[in-house]
Amino acid sequence: MSTTLADLVAQLDAFRDATLAQLAVADSLDALEAVRASSVGRTRGALNDYKAQLPKLAGADKPTFGARFNAVKVELEAAIDARHAALSASAPAAAALDLSMPARRQWRGAKHPVTIVLEEIEGIFRDLGFTIATGPEAEHEWYNFGALNFPPDHPAMDMHDTLYLERGGLLRTHTSPVQIRTLQSYPPPIRIIAPGNVFRRDFFDASHAPMFAQIEGMAVDEGISFVDLKATLANFANRFFGETKTRFRPSFFPFTEPSAEMDVACRICNGAGCATCKQTGWVEILGCGMMHPAVLESAGVDSQKYSGWAFGMGPARMALQRFGIPDIRIQYDSDIAFLEQFAQ
């Protein structure tokens, strides 16, 4: 029976695997030399037998097998040399592996801390029946302000120092435009959260950045009430921060009425007052409120029939608190020494 290339290569590979296996258990230089002699040894080495098969192959197969043969030979010799080096280094002979030595590692990837916080928030709201909506970062002025009941020439605009685009439009100052886009696209009941980047003409300092992540939330249906708003957000706070006290207090946003802000008890002083919470015992987490009827109407939703609530919060600042990061600017440096800390 003639020898095929395939058979021969298979045999060669099997021989290589067997030899590597022997090498792995050769725990003395003597044992190693025995393996060397029986495998790649010039006189007794079994590898020679494979070379001897070469003439039996069809002419066209010869270079293929030749290349394969050489590759195996080089691999085995290198493996034997490496084993020799290892055994020599670990005198006295017969030393076992020191299992305390470090493993061979892979690079470990990590999500950005703001993403980690965002995903945690998303997970909690997913359990509360919310889906994720998105929208563009370059927006029409109407979606960012007009539809959200911002009166023109009103001091409320001062809370949104805006970056405008030269050819019209702006960089959204909050994720609230997604409220309008979603309401225009889907009928109630609606329960969505909308994560995304927002922009303010704020110069960098320890707690401000010109771009930062925000997460919006909105629930619209018949009979949605302030109690639903409070209950959902307090439930969120208890899951995100662990069992915690929450406080709702009046605030102002043109697109909600009543408007509120939710604080949680300061984790650092447990409510006693410290520098972090400006001695108040409370830390502000999010702004929220019942959706203003004008906002529902601007998206074509009947505000007599439907009501809703909405909130917005800043995962970037929450990440500062959660991980004890002293300065928001660190989040944008993308320094490996920072990011690798999140590769847990």
Partner: protein
């Protein structure tokens, strides 16, 4: 808004500490940013605890004590007080501190015993004449804590962060009204020393009238809907009485002179800005509220020459502008020591007009801040009367003639219908009708009788923010207390909105990048740009941040460079973010993209490795494949030759060019390894309007198409067989081209094709390389015969030679 604790207390009685007051204002109105103790001269005095006390060896009335002042070591302090007790806490002033009255403490020896400071009595702290001994503190604060935290003395400034909707809270009266509503007390303006002058009833008019000798004209009722004033003759300008200075200092204002201080006092007390003119310096004498003339100039009180325009309202005399209405007065008619006659202007200016003016002039003042938010137009006569009385009390003089009140179109108080059923529905809990009235009345709302769940509510004129019933719902909720509403989670209906495909895809791609060992970066999208290929910002924050990035690698490369500057050699970053491309008109084209940069070691070097290879082109290509297949799946992904030399490969998904793999030229130190970048578009993010304002365009609420699935292949039950072929491939023939011919020629039995090696050099002709593949064949039902495989190989070799001119390697 800076409020004084003592000033508030003079308007409404309460028992709250400053902290309690802070919490009350925060819970009912708006947040308090800060409490500032005004006895700053006591700021360096701390709580000291006496840990040991022994008799002084050389004195029968002195004690030698050891004091814990929070410094980590105990201080020796000599004390002469008979009441010193071990364990007790006292105000402690360390050596180096200056006490009220100017005594600077130094470390010194008292009869041979060292003293590092002083335990203080009330008198030594300027807190009274008590000198029976040192002041024992009843406090839980630890040693070293500020004394003022343990014992609040002096006034406290309450810094209230008033939201833009609540101009009524920009005054002590407004905040006191809210406190009174909480306590059930009554807010009333305090009597001021000597402020008893009788102010005649004002003369009413539409467009003109007089106050004493001053002719007053209202030419611009749009910008100035109400203009009032009074003429006071014979004032003596000088310093203010101590009580007035103290009030102004408490709110962070500077005392200027008695006349100006009186107007400032009124601004802070009732929230009505006003301005006093030296009437002798007014041409006419006349006061005219009119639009500025084009190019008209005015030197304002801050000494700046300003050019005005006709969009701005000014207060002028018969000849020229004397002040920018509601923003700042002019220096020509400024009250000085020589002033004897005053015209006091008290007016209402249109909020949006003030806002436009102060933005145009870039000049924000306490006055413009209040006018912009809306002062109480109906409160003006009372403010004028009280201001005149106060002015005369502190600066003398007397009113000549009657005040003038030009108010052509009086405002009517707004009435809103409230529906108690609607209140209950929106708040989620019923609020009894009598409770609605009880809650609203103390802050100035007049609630009529309820009939069929409805009642009419009259809104006080100081609340311009309350215009519809939902605003009253907020009032009811906040006055009852937001925290009094239940936190009970109630049943809800499932929403109709499917998860955004963008969010789903982003998440999948991110997971894949992380599992490939990449670290997620976050970079700002602003770039230097500078040409038409980038979207330009109209009002950038900095010149080198004037444009938006067009590619993620633009900004991610900067992050890689930052890491190299930090001497990190192994950099593996990815980012998911938006990029923007200009369009001829309208909003930019926005895309959500993913990008990655790798440089440095392919794996963390291991002690047993003989070499530690760096990332190369093939890693970058593999990374691109890994990311791209998360988008389109392996079958839809192709890495093909880049159309130009700026990139190595183009990433095609569904046949469409969606990304690139490239070598990156970083601004890098010489030791930096080669850097490679990948960038792929995830989706185009539409910014097109969904529907016109006020309308919707409802999509069928679908749940999203099921994700496409590949078909499971049964495990083979027959053996495979393979052949290896080595081909001489010209350097300029793409291996992918050879592979496609191999696949086609080998037929459906070819299970896999894997590239084994590439070799150039000895034995291979110049311009060629030897490339070897292993072809694995398998028949699903039977074992392939050697002959069949050999036949396929021969056919393949013929096809390769025929189609590509590629031959087998024979040497």
């Amino acid at each position: 808004m800076n409020a004084s604790y003592e000033w508030l207390k003079a308007i409404v009685p309460f028992d709250y500490t400053p902290e309690q007051l802070r919490d009350l204002i925060t819970a009912r109105c708006c947040p308090v940013d800060e409490l500032v103790r005004l006895r700053a001269d006591l700021a360096s005095v701390v709580v000291g605890q006496v840990v040991e006390a022994g008799a002084h060896p050389d004195s029968d009335h002195l004690w030698v004590t050891k004091v814990d002042a929070g410094k980590g070591e105990l201080l020796d302090v000599v004390c002469g007080a008979p009441n010193v007790k071990v364990g007790a806490k006292y105000p402690f002033a360390a050596a180096g501190t200056t006490l009220p009255g100017g005594l600077k403490l130094e470390k010194r020896k008292i009869r041979g015993a060292t003293s590092n400071g002083m335990l203080c009595s009330a008198r030594e702290l300027g807190l009274g004449e008590e000198h029976d001994g040192i002041l024992e503190l009843n406090t839980n604060l630890p040693p070293g804590a500020p004394f003022l935290d343990a014992m609040p003395v002096g006034d406290t400034r309450i810094v209230v962060d008033v939201t833009p909707n609540r101009p009524d809270l920009l005054s002590h009266v407004g905040i006191a009204r809210e406190i009174a509503a909480a306590t059930g007390g009554t807010a009333a303006l305090p009597t001021l020393d000597g402020a008893t002058a009788k102010v005649p009833a004002a003369a009413r008019g539409d467009r003109e009238g007089s106050a004493g000798p001053v002719r007053v004209t209202l030419e611009d009722p749009e910008g100035c809907p109400r203009l009032t004033g009074v003429f006071i003759r014979g004032v003596k300008v000088g310093p203010s009485p101590a009580w007035l200075v103290e009030r102004l200092v408490a709110v962070g204002s500077r005392s200027i002179n008695n006349v100006v201080d009186a107007t400032n006092y009124m601004l802070h007390e009732v929230g009505q800005p006003m301005h006093a003119y030296d009437a002798k310096l007014l041409a006419g004498p006349a006061i005219v509220a009119r639009r500025a003339r084009a190019g008209e100039t005015l030197r304002t009180l801050d000494g700046v020459n300003r050019t005005l325009d006709p969009s701005m309202t000014v207060i002028a005399d018969a000849e020229r502008a004397q002040g920018v209405a509601g923003v700042m007065g002019g220096s020509t008619s400024e009250v000085s020591d020589a002033t004897t006659d005053i015209f006091l202007e008290v007016a209402y200016f249109d909020p949006s007009s003030i806002r436009r003016t102060r933005r145009a002039l870039q000049l924000s003042t306490d006055a413009s801040y209040r006018f912009e938010r809306g002062v109480d137009i109906e409160g003006i006569p009372r403010a004028l009367e009280r201001a005149a009385q106060l002015l005369i009390a502190v600066a003398g003089g007397s009113i000549e003639g009657a005040p003038i009140d030009l108010y052509p179109v009086p405002r009517h108080a707004l009435s809103i219908t409230i529906d108690s059923a609607r209140v209950a529905k929106l708040l989620g809990e019923p609020v009894a009708e009598p409770d609605i009235a009880t809650l609203l009345a103390p802050v100035g709302f007049a609630v009529g009788a309820f009939a069929n769940a409805r009642a009419s509510v009259t809104v006080p004129t100081w609340r311009p923010d309350v215009t519809q019933s939902v605003d009253l719902v907020e009032e009811i909720a906040r006055l009852r207390g937001y925290d009094s509403f239940s936190n009970e989670l109630r049943p809800f209906r499932r929403g109709t909105v499917p998860n955004s495909p963008l969010a789903v895809l982003t998440k999948r791609v991110r997971e894949r990048c992380v599992s490939a060992g990449l670290l997620e970066a976050l970079s700002m999208p602003f770039v230097r740009g500078g040409d038409d290929s980038h979207v330009k910002l109209a009002n950038p924050m900095a010149e080198d941040e004037g444009y938006l990035r067009r590619d993620l690698l633009e900004t991610l490369a900067k992050r890689a460079e930052h890491n190299l500057a930090q001497r990190h050699r192994d950099v593996r970053l990815f980012e998911i973010g938006s990029v923007f491309a200009p369009t001829p008109a309208g909003l930019p084209r926005e895309e959500m993209r993913v990008a990655a940069i790798v440089l440095g070691h392919r794996h963390p070097p291991h002690w047993s490795d003989t070499s530690a290879p760096d990332f190369d082109e093939w890693d970058a290509k593999g990374l691109a494949e890994l990311i791209a297949t998360a988008i389109g799946g392996a079958a839809q992904t192709e890495l093909r030759a880049a159309p130009d030399s700026s990139a190595l490969w183009e990433v095609a998904i569904y046949g469409e060019a969606r990304g690139v793999v490239r070598r990156l030229a970083l601004d890098a130190p010489v030791w930096a390894p080669a850097a490679f970048g990948v960038e792929i578009t995830l989706v185009h993010v539409s910014s097109a309007p969904v529907a016109p304002p006020g309308q919707s365009k409802l999509e069928h609420p679908d749940l999203g198409a099921p994700t496409s699935h590949f078909n499971f292949k049964p495990f083979p039950s027959t053996p495979s067989t393979f052949v290896d072929v080595a081909l001489l491939v010209p350097n300029d023939l793409a291996v992918s081209r050879v592979e496609s011919v191999i696949r086609e020629a080998s037929g459906e039995l070819l299970e896999s094709l894997s590239l084994l090696s590439e070799y150039r050099g000895a034995g291979i002709a110049e311009g060629f390389r030897s490339v070897a593949w292993r072809l694995t064949f398998r028949h699903p039902e039977r074992t392939l015969r050697d002959k069949e495989v050999a036949g396929r190989r021969d056919k393949l070799l013929r096809t390769l030679e025929g189609e590509l001119g590629v031959r087998q390697r024979t040497t």
